[in-house]
């Protein structure tokens, strides 16, 4: 049965302003005297975030501080909104690295495809959402900024632990 609507039958003969209003006042008084506060004092108290929250990107680094990115070009390819700009280069040892790596967080839809597709687990989304800026230019994160960020990586969905517990 697609749900039934509860209909409160209030005969006109028993309607009364005075009694109805005093009932209402009683209910609000209960809340006024014993408030069950639902407010979260946001900047002081923060949310408990899920490990799988997809927020601001982060670039993983090697122990010597170099970005793990090998400039394979998979993430700009998979990105549905074209927010990743990657120019690869090769160093004297023949190893590829990203000469330019920029993510426009303003365009990003936080789908997490880049993190899933990355073969070397370099680019990650992070458990972090407070990324307000005063100008749009500041929303384009370059490689240096991406490696400096310190919030935790987003956990990918694990098929052996579907509820992520």
């Amino acid at each position: 049965m697609p749900g039934s609507v509860k209909i409160v039958v209030r005969p006109e003969a028993s309607a009364s302003y005075v009694r109805a209003i005093s009932t209402g006042l009683g209910i609000t008084l209960k809340h006024m005297v014993k408030p069950k506060k639902q407010t979260q004092q946001y900047p002081d108290e923060k949310w408990d975030l899920s490990r799988r929250l997809r927020g601001t990107h982060r670039m993983a680094t090697h122990e010597d501080g170099r970005a793990k990115c090998v400039g394979c070009g998979l993430c700009p390819t998979v990105c549905p909104v074209n927010c990743i700009k990657l120019i690869p280069a090769e160093d004297e040892n023949g190893e590829r690295y990203a000469a330019v790596y920029e993510i426009d967080e303003f365009r990003c839809i936080f789908c997490g495809f880049c993190q899933e597709v990355c073969p070397v687990e370099a680019i990650h989304l992070g458990v972090h959402y407070e990324n307000a800026e005063y100008s749009r230019e500041r929303w384009v994160y370059d490689l240096e900024r991406l490696t400096e960020l310190e919030h935790p990586f987003t956990a990918l969905w694990d098929p052996f632990d579907p509820a992520s517990e």
């Binding site: 039934s4 028993s14 009364s16 006024m32």
Partner: protein, 426 residues
Amino acid sequence: MEPMTGTSFIVFTALKVVVFFVLLLVFVAMSTYFERKIAGFIQNRSGPNRVGPLGLLQVMADGLKFILKEETEPGGSNKKFFFLAPVLALVPATVLFAVLPFAAPLPTRWGLMEMIVADAPVGFLYVLAIASLGVYGMVLGGWASNSKYPFLGALRGSAQMVSYEVALAMSLVPVLMLVGNVTMPEIVSAQQRFAEGTGAYGAWFILPLMVAGLIFVISGVAETGRVPFDLPEAESELVGGFHTEYSAMKFGMFFLGEYAHLITTAALITIFFLGGWDIPFWEGDNIRVLADGTVIGEPAWWKTLLTLGSFTVKSLALVLFFMWLRWTIPRFRYDQLMDLGWKVFIPLLMGYIMLMGLAIYLLDSWGIPSGLKYSAALIGLNVVLMVILVWVVDRGSIVRGATARTRRAPGTAPARTRPVAPNEAD
């Protein structure tokens, strides 16, 4: 001790004007804070708590914001009246305080000082006259804006104010019949206990004139234009009603005017029906200055302070009650509002005035002196009337859907007022 005269009278009156005006504005400002706090608590929120300890500086932050914001003015507005309206909204609510007695008379070296800014012999009529000026701010504001929503708000406001003013004034007639005087200090004294037969009834008028008191409170809320009578503002229907086009301090003045009006109404109810500055069950504060200057009772500075406290507590409790009411009940539908004013309150009050007049006439002609016995008889009568009012009059005949009243041919069944649900047994 003689009442104050001459130069000292003028000096002290000027002093009282300044002190009470400042006090009133402080209370107005604080009541905006308390309104938001109470709204928060009732709705399971915290209310303002970021600015200063417990959010107490929120009032100042708001004031600063009002002053610093840009003043906008709609094109084609009537500039003169557009500027005048906020002033007219704030001024009547504040000047009304001039004739309200705050406390027992204060003895000074220069004579006995009445704690009232202007002890006008027609204080009562002044109250009614100034209270009805309040509508001008609303109507002019809505009309001068040259905009549709404010205009609708102003139309609603003017109709509402005019309707409820009648009920407001009529509910004070029984008070006048009992007191037999229109000066405000006399109305307070009449609710205190003095020797029998001196025109004092020893009971706050909310008891012997319960029905009038109830209607005065309700009409008072309607006059302040607050929920459930906030049709001129009606932000969910008319954007912001009469002050839609106002910004910055001009809006601020409407805002302050509303709260000043609220406090004034609370003070008026206190004086007319809650014994003014009288402290219940205590004979020491029964101080009365007769018209010829003789003083009954023993004035003292600490009694003045205590009675001032009593007046403040009563008024603020009423302000609190109005806020509580505001965050409890929804707005009236316009036709219900008009029905309540014209078809319920006014006939009710007419009958009530006749009945109370008869009762007072009978009690007088039986030779019962004004005093506790006299008011006990009236209290008995009023309790009966209240029971009839709540259990018989206020049943079905007041709240009714708009469709239930549509005209139908005689002999036909009344139209259904709501659709029949499938799970409803017919």
